[in-house]
């Protein structure tokens, strides 16, 4: 079916005509790739009117809904929270929804998918290797008594919280993974995001899973393969500093391995949690979350 015969899409980009005038037209040079048709990605140019507050994502959606509905782009929240629209804009890892087109100070905006992940189509990459590595470092509190009393909270001081607070801002967008030079050559390298989260949970005073995580990160393709290029921290749109966390994780492994392994996790609060118990919530949750079908 030709593009012109396709059913009109219902969603429309807000029409700003009459409200304000476009400041200029910008060429969006977008990487295109259809696995059924193309052998390798190529760039295609589109002319997009840009207003004061037009973001790169707005531009891509303008293309999708006005110029070429076949453009594949992953996005969701449009406010820098979900991390879905991670891509490389004018050579740098950025969130498309957080990048104002005029701030790029260029009449050509080159957009391509993030590095180091398999390409599905156009700007959409397969994030499964990234999330598998995230899962591998056990990014959750591990302790023997966590299942026993679901109605309690664990005590933590503000100072203990500050130890890892910055790392909780990670939105798992994959920009650090794309920027990492080690990930570019070592497909088994855990990557900055997973290693930073390994540190985040290990240093958490409520956690007692250091030994388990050390086994995962102290590997020939683990934490030691980080060469401290710092590209991950420079790329992070949320101000997380994975490079710092990875060096701290190395320090834990060298100087505090035994202390961390034998550390007693924070005690439980005496106060019983109000409202629906965690056990009830867990009972109502599906045992396995449905996964999207694998790309061909």
């Amino acid at each position: 079916m030709a593009a012109s015969e396709q059913k009109q899409l219902e969603f429309k980009v807000p029409n700003l005509e009459g409200v304000e005038k476009p400041i200029k037209n910008v060429i969006f040079r977008v990487s295109r790739f259809d696995p059924d048709r193309d052998r390798e990605p190529y760039y295609r140019d589109y002319e997009v009117p840009v207003y004061r507050f037009t973001t790169v994502l707005d531009g891509l959606l303008y293309i999708k809904y006005n110029l070429d509905p076949t453009l594949a782009v992953r996005y969701s929240c449009r406010m820098g929270v979900c991390g879905s629209c991670a891509m490389i804009v004018n050579g740098r890892e950025r969130l498309a929804c957080k990048t104002n087109v005029l701030s790029l100070n260029s009449n050509i905006v080159t957009v391509r998918p993030i590095n180091n992940l398999p390409l599905i189509r156009d700007l959409v990459t397969d994030l499964r290797p990234f999330f598998e590595k995230h899962k591998k470092v056990m990014p959750y509190i591990i302790r023997d008594d966590i299942e026993a009393r679901q109605d309690r909270e664990f005590l933590q001081s503000p100072a203990e919280l500050n130890e890892y607070m910055m790392l909780t801002d990670c939105i798992k967008c994959g920009l650090c993974y794309s920027a990492c030079p080690t990930t570019a050559t070592d497909a088994l390298f855990l990557g900055p995001q997973a290693l930073a989260q390994a540190y985040r949970y290990t240093i958490d005073s409520r956690d007692a899973g250091a030994a388990l995580r050390f086994d995962v990160v102290d590997d020939p393709h683990g934490v030691w393969r980080c060469h401290f290029a710092g590209a991950c921290s420079a790329a992070c749109p949320k101000g997380v500093d994975p490079a710092f966390a990875i060096q701290q994780l190395k320090k834990l492994l060298l100087y505090k391995r035994n202390a961390m392994k034998s550390r007693k996790p924070a005690p439980e609060s005496e106060k019983v949690r109000e409202g629906t118990s965690v056990e009830e919530v867990l009972k109502s949750m599906p045992k396995e979350w449905p996964s999207p079908p694998a790309p061909k």
Binding site: D186, A187, D218, H221, W224, R225, L254
Partner: protein
């Protein structure tokens, strides 16, 4: 199986050792040479360093540190360039053997000169 953290800890320590002994090595051949800088690299002057037990021991230690640091560094580079269990095993064994071979060959040179011989 040795932990990666242990291998890398030794890598850092040997790196620091190489910095100290390497500086000493170059200084011994230049500023600290008998008679000073002029003629420091003359054959007799260099040989006099090898025949001195302390300098020979320093050279041997330098060689040991270099053998580990260089070949463990190669191992890291090669493991980053390619992946796979067979490749990992091959790289680990080859680099360990190469380090031992380099150390033994270097030791032979130091010993031969120390005992006054020539190759």
């Amino acid at each position: 199986m040795v932990r990666e953290s242990t291998l890398m800890w030794i890598q850092y320590i040997t790196g620091l050792g190489i910095l100290v002994l390497g500086a000493l090595h170059f200084a011994s051949l230049t500023l600290l040479a008998p008679g000073g800088y002029p003629g420091a690299l003359e054959y007799a002057t260099v040989i006099s360093r090898y025949t001195d037990p302390l300098w020979a021991a320093a050279l041997e230690a330098f060689l040991a540190l270099l053998s580990y640091h260089v070949f463990n560094g190669f191992r890291v580079l090669l493991l980053e360039l390619n992946q796979g269990s067979g490749w990992t095993k091959a790289v680990n064994v080859t680099m360990a053997l190469a380090a031992i071979a380099a150390f033994l060959y270097g030791t032979r040179t130091i010993l031969v000169f120390h005992l006054g011989g020539a190759i």
